[in-house]
Symmetry: none
Subunit: 251 residues, 2 copies
């Protein structure tokens, strides 16, 4: 990767996300943090951004309000996203669900990765657009507006013709007794279908999902191959899941 290209990417990220973190950039670009820091220092010297401890902020202060709010919502999930992204290997076909956590996974995929991403979420497709090594396959169908994913017979049929290596599933509730649940019948059906077509099913469960139960069953706990939770996951929940034979992956 060319230096100027990298700097342009940093500025672009800064524009779209409102801030950049040195460590994240070094992971994503597969470079040492020293190099990233050098870039940030040089960009700051040119007045193109404002250096802060840990990363950088836009040079102008005008736009900082909205992006920050949005960023905090997402940043809680970046730890889970990074662990998930690291599970994807070159050449694999990965299915990404809808939802903010899955978008975070999409953004966390290393730039040097070559893989195929299948998704029924337009948001995911857009998030992956400028990833050079990812081929994007979009599943068509009627858009379920509440979650912004495609559902219905057309989506089911589209999924039926795809086999993925790994599926990152987002759900509304993860409960030791009730299993995995979500808030819409159609989404539940889609998720079941995707899971059947995938060699591995990994659940992404940010803290507010733990112990929660929603209206519609998705699949039972013994059908998933892993659940990624935040590091500070409640001990009580962790033990309850362990007693069900489900081991959690802590981010």
């Amino acid at each position: 990767m060319l230096t100027l290209e990298r700097k342009a990417l940093i500025l672009e990220t800064l524009n779209s996300e409102g801030r950049v973190v040195a460590k994240d950039l070094s992971q994503k670009l597969d470079l040492s943090e020293d190099t990233i820091r050098r870039d940030l220092r040089e960009l700051a010297a040119e007045g193109l951004l404002q250096r802060v401890h840990g990363g950088a902020l836009p040079a102008s202060k005008a736009l900082t309000d909205l992006p920050t709010r949005r960023k905090t919502a997402v940043s809680d999930k970046t730890a889970i996203a990074k662990v998930a992204a690291a599970m994807v290997k070159n050449g694999q076909i990965v299915f990404l669900d809808g939802g903010t956590t899955a978008v975070a996974v999409a953004r966390a995929l290393p730039l040097e990765l070559n893989a195929t991403a299948v998704t029924h979420s337009p948001d995911i497709a857009v998030a992956l657009l400028d990833h050079p090594g990812i081929e994007i396959e979009l599943v068509g169908g009627r858009i379920y507006k509440h979650s912004n994913v495609t559902v219905g017979a057309v989506a089911m049929e589209g999924i039926a013709h795809i086999r993925a290596d790994i599926y990152f599933m987002g759900v509304t509730g993860v409960h030791p007794e009730q299993g995995l649940t979500t808030g819409s019948r159609e989404e539940a059906a889609i998720k079941r279908s995707i899971s059947r077509q995938s060699a591995e099913t990994i659940v992404l469960a940010s803290h507010e999902k733990l112990g929660a139960v929603s209206a519609y069953d998705v699949i039972s706990l013994d059908q998933v191959d892993g659940i990624i939770v935040e590091r500070n996951c409640a001990r009580e929940f962790s033990d309850a899941m362990a007693s069900k034979g489900v081991s959690l992956i802590k981010a």
Copy 2:
């Protein structure tokens, strides 16, 4: 291989990929890196590209001005978009293809309208998300990243099962003699297919498209039912089209 030919190839690669790397070029062309570097130096001396350590970038400035360009481009198209949006009646099925003009149409649809929008562009789907009365149907397939629309066999099949009342088609070139053209073979095929499935085909042509010709034919002028152009459309172009029996709709 001739030197000039090689330089042309380098510039072409630079245009399509946004960058060139000296080592990659030397491997691809089976020449020493020295020769490539010489070429790059000479092209840089002519101002045709920007030399950087490791390769070269386009002569035009950084990517930072791209978002702004994109934004202004959209705002210029609102006049066309409003006229198009006003053509949609309650209960109709409308096909919107990719491109900034189509996004503008999506945004311009009256809030009280109830209709179904079919699209192969994730951008359009997202733009329509908070429109209460629009049912969104997304056509799946492989994402063609340059335009951010789905293409390929899957998309073609998805389109084959839908009949729309009206199709708003975006193109790269509208020419009195050459007809409608676009820059990618796959997109051209998709557009043809959509047009066949739609009762009416309306072309959205912002000023920079008028008189332009791109690489791939889409459909001939007598297959379209209307072309929406900006109000200040050149008289000369308007007359040339009229002599072909095509009447323009001025926004």
